[in-house]
Amino acid sequence: MSQLRIAGGIVHDPANGIDGEVRDICMDDGRIVADVPKGATTIDARGMVVMPGGVDMHSHVASGSVNLARRLLPEEHDRDPMRAPALVDGEPPRSGTGGTVPSTFTTGYRYAGLGYTTVFDAAVAPLTARASHAEFDDTPIVDGGFFVLMGNDEYLLRQIDAGERDRAREYAAWLLGAAGGYAIKVVNPGGIERWKQGARDRTDLDTAIGATRVTPRAILETLVDAGNALGLPHAAHIHCNNLGVPGNVATTLDSMRAVGGRRAHFTHLQFHSYAAPDKGGGWRSGARDVIEYVNAHKEISGDVGQVMFGAATTLTADGPVEYMLHKSSGRKWVNVDLELETGCGIVPHTYKEKAAVSALQWVVGLELFLLSADPWRMVLSTDHPNGGSFLSYPELIRLLMDRTYRDEHLKRVNQKWLGGSALADGIAREYTLNEIAIVTRAGPARLLGLRGKGHLGAGADADVTVYVPDADRSRMFATPRYVVKGGTLVVEEGQLRRAPAGRRLHVRPSYDAAVTRDLKRFFDDRSTVSFENYPVGTLRDAPAALDGERGSGR
């Protein structure tokens, strides 16, 4: 691979304590190096802003449920066709369609065009992991991986019910490797199983799951402990119970306390930070309570799941949420119950400035950002495409960096439930470029345990984005001038020029072989897929290293 120098740019590399210094960034053979010879290809970046490539730690881009969402949205695709880009060499360019759930190749091109070089799909049912890998194979440029859905899986619930937490941990280790996933994902622990059983009421931390002794609390404890005991690079990634329900801030805080003192990541907290003070159906922001808890507890982290006004597609393993949304909005609805594991629900949605709930959600998300004391632990996401497309990140960055713009926007939205909220009372904070670099790359990379990502120190992956400064931060972040991925110049002069295949990011923890003997019996009894046909097998890229004594298995 060729050598490359990005010369004279204003570098923001917060992981290495560099905040706006003029420096050269040099690359050789796909890695950042201290220097390259004079003759190396040089990009004149004087006056431009240089950051590590973007890292999206929570998106939905490559899964069976994403593909069902794509299929549901021909009208969106009709409005947003994308020609094959004019690539100069390498892989054949492919056309596609966009909308809130773009086709695979278009997803890769558009993420790279936005300066993102790493993307995780946050919810994959292991039963369908093969399809996710195939979709990632067709999603060029970005390095990708996914989180494996647990917490409503029958085998896990049985182990917890039987008090077999060690076996539950070994099962989680096996399952991550079998699926080729990167982290443990918990969605509405126990609540999806309850939905399958016909329950329609709230699932709280101590609600029994069916006729068992299992509770969401026990599920959270088990999986958070498993993630930490296995030395996984990323903590258990938790989507709490009661998403979208007014008053759910209590559930969210209960969940955080339930795993108190332990490393855990709480995702799209915006959707979990609603207060219901008057019991009369009114909603209020609960963001302050949640962010104060996060600020005070260094072992936990979160991402925001900001809502952006406009079209979105809500798509989640949390089936009961989508049933509620379908009932309230009347829009088309997909529900698929996935055997022994999880659910899947999809409803297209539009967040409207003039709608009270949308406006409140928008405010709650911004409050989480603006009241966060530590950008390393509260990072940017829209839970694409749930809160809005990843293409809205530049607009979100503008809202964070430009108070005047934000306050003007705030005046236009429905004020019904905004009274007493921190944002309505006025928040002066404006994110700096360095803080943006933290919440969009350095922070997520650190939370994911990606040592080669999110920074520009020697040895890091040569993933670099170069922006032209612009007072309109939305314009600046929407159109990077240069993007380098793994040392390859993929965006030149704002045009996508190369689209190399990305790498797969996954883990393969070793496990106690005894668990597979038990699992084989379980599969024979309960599964419609042979135990032998379940694992995805060896992946092209090597698994990531694990912390601690436990090594990678077969």
Partner: protein, 403 residues
């Protein structure tokens, strides 16, 4: 012996088959149903490669194929059954590079259910959920034993606490009955109006039996039967989805729409992931356009809007109406038993193995659960590899002509 083999004889994709071979020939397909045994056969397939009826090398055949598409202005790429998702992905890439139309068997056999799911969504489940949870199983105008022989034994076996409701009504009455049923289970006070007629009587009788279930599975065929003397109402799939969705108010329910074999669901999924649409796509403008009605392969062929066809898959499994049209156009046929198929007089004919018998890769069960394919005997070149080579050739010719 090869164990845990996935059968693509129908969309059930049973993955518990044991293939016993003797001297490179399949001697037994244990656990397979009659349909599966027929699908596996003895594993012997032709391995010819022909241009204009003459035997040639694969390279020569691919060069001739690329020549044909270099001259074409309205090419069609068609995904026939019995190829892996990997081959389907390659074929879709060829269509994109050629600016071709791209379609699969689905448009001719299951379009109403695809369109209905795009309009309404779905209330569905993977088959194991039905097996483990459904206490009421409705067989809607369907005897699974005919085209899906192991569906019931594998996914809805008789058991204590499971009730089967077999509904068998005339095609003309289906939509009315389903619509009334959906209204009743939604709690609309239809009794007060007291309409009469067979649909109302039937729906009133069925509704309480459905509502008695804690988890209701409605099983219906999404495929058009080849010998369908009584054509289905085009609104049937939509009405089935509406009923399944409505049942999720008072109880839980899933609609299981059955699909035939050969990885048809894989074709829908691959087209969707790469283009955003599950069938009937046109790349003529340089990007995918959805043309589910006038752009389906059958309609295109019928009006003479195809000047070169690339069929990838088992030609013999393409519906007869479509096949008859295909026989009239210049064509490249790549797939299992191409040289013995009704399209064997094509310009270029390349035999490949059958996905799941000679070739590995991935296929999707009718509920979109992906399964690995385990080849049990050796065969001719694999379809994915041939398609990949053709794709490279097609793209390099286009790059040359662009300069």
């Amino acid at each position: 012996m090869t164990a845990h083999v996935t059968c693509l004889g129908c969309g059930c994709a049973c993955d518990d088959i044991e293939i016993v071979t003797r001297d490179g020939v399949i001697g037994d397909a244990k656990n397979a149903c009659e349909l599966g045994v027929r699908w596996f056969g003895d594993g012997r397939v032709p391995a010819r490669c022909r241009v204009a009826g003459r035997d040639v090398s694969v390279d020569a055949a691919l060069a001739a194929a690329a020549d044909l598409f270099a001259r074409a202005t309205r090419p069609l790429v068609y995904l026939a059954p019995d190829i892996s998702c990997e081959a389907q992905r390659e074929a879709a890439g060829i269509a994109d590079a050629l600016g071709a139309a791209l379609d699969s068997v689905t448009s001719a056999t299951a379009m109403p259910s695809i369109l209905a799911a795009q309009e309404r969504g779905r209330a569905s489940a993977t088959l194991g959920e039905i097996r483990n949870r459904a206490d009421v199983v409705v067989l809607w105008c369907l005897d699974p034993a005919v085209a899906y022989p192991r569906y019931l034994s594998r996914y809805a076996p008789e058991s204590a606490g499971r009730t089967f409701i077999r509904v068998d009504i005339a095609a003309a009455d289906e939509v009315a009955t389903l619509t009334v049923l959906a209204a009743i289970v939604s709690g609309h006070a239809v009794d007060k109006a007291s309409p009469t007629g067979p649909a109302w009587a039937r729906a009133r009788e069925l509704a309480p039996r459905l509502l008695a279930g804690r988890y209701v599975a409605i099983v219906a065929d999404a495929e058009a039967a080849a010998d369908d003397t009584e054509p289905r109402d085009p609104g049937r799939a939509s009405a089935l989805i509406a009923l399944a969705q409505a049942l999720n108010g008072p109880t839980r329910a899933a609609l299981s729409l059955l699909r035939a074999g050969g990885n048809r669901s894989g074709a829908d999924a691959v087209m969707t992931s790469q283009t955003g649409y599950p069938m009937s796509v046109d790349f003529a403008h340089g990007y995918p356009l959805y043309r589910p009605h006038d752009g389906a392969a059958e309609a295109r062929l019928a009006r003479g809007d195809v000047d070169a066809l690339l069929l990838i898959g088992a030609a013999a499994l393409v519906p007869a109406d479509v096949l008859a049209q295909m026989a009239r156009v210049p064509r490249v046929v790549i797939g299992p038993r191409s040289s013995e198929s009704p399209l064997n007089q094509g310009d270029v004919v390349i035999d490949t193995g059958i996905a799941g018998i000679h070739e590995g890769g991935t296929a999707l069960r009718m509920d979109d659960v992906p399964l690995p394919l385990r080849p049990s005997v050796t065969g001719p070149p694999d379809a994915a590899g041939v398609a990949r080579a053709l794709g490279r050739l097609v793209r390099s010719r286009r790059e040359v002509s662009a300069r």
